[in-house]
Symmetry: C2
Subunit: 155 residues, 2 copies
């Protein structure tokens, strides 16, 4: 059983250390009827097709497969809901954890979130001083929901 | 660009030659909002995740990736719409083409279809004498539609 356990936070960008070595991520979703997500992602010069089950707290089933970048770009163009999510990801080590800082562009310009992946739901995480608020269970911040309700329209 | 061009037919089972070496196929679909299909298939001891675009005539975009059987069985159990399609497939060579004969079970018991894959939409196919009627463009016969409207309920 492949399980993804991930917590998501809003951050205070003024307190962040300088970020370096970011890479572009473009991702889209084949629109599903239920809470299962089918994600197509191009990440630098790699691409992945990912199936995620419904979130229960910070946990969800996840199956991820590397696919050819040319396939992923075609699927983003022709099969995924629009707009495609475009963000730059930076990795930041803090104590024992690796944080992913996602800076969104285009329709989600202004949105910045930090995610940390855990081994179990009750694993303790020492929160960096730049963390403002946890939004793990706030569905508005799911990438799959940022398509229909991009951050720039939250008002 | 990966394109699948396939014609589908109903057959007269009494005229079929004896079938041998069939293998079981179990497949399910992650239910999508539009005409894109996300199929999980276990075929003998192999498994595949397949993304198919909307059909236009006999043609549709198709992307297929081999995945671990254990993943596919979990996805069939936990993420796919029910019922799962269960069929036995036999391969039959006729003149220059390889035909797939699918004999459905359970909710679709009684349904038998033959499919032939082509290089182009206008490729000519010599139809075997056991072909009764073409149903390529009849959406009721799409495997993805047999979930919500299984053959046993067509009445």
């Amino acid at each position: 059983m492949a399980l993804e356990i991930e917590r998501k936070f809003l951050i205070d960008i003024d307190k962040l250390p300088i970020l370096a070595n970011g890479y572009d991520i473009k991702q889209g979703y084949i629109q599903t009827k239920d809470k299962t997500a089918v994600r197509v992602r191009v990440k630098g010069d790699e691409a992945f097709l990912t199936i995620k089950g419904e979130s229960v707290g910070a946990t969800r089933l996840e199956y991820e497969y590397a696919i050819p970048v040319v396939d992923a770009n075609e699927m983003l163009d022709m099969l995924c809901g629009k707009p495609i999510i475009d963000k730059t990801r930076y990795l930041l080590k803090h104590k024992n954890h690796l944080w992913e800082i996602d800076i969104f562009h285009k329709e989600n310009e202004g949105l910045i979130v930090a995610e940390v992946e855990l081994e179990s739901e009750d694993e303790s995480v020492e929160l960096p001083e730049w963390i403002v608020k946890e939004v793990t269970e706030d569905a508005r911040y799911y990438n799959s929901n940022l398509l229909e309700h991009p951050y720039s329209q939250w008002g």
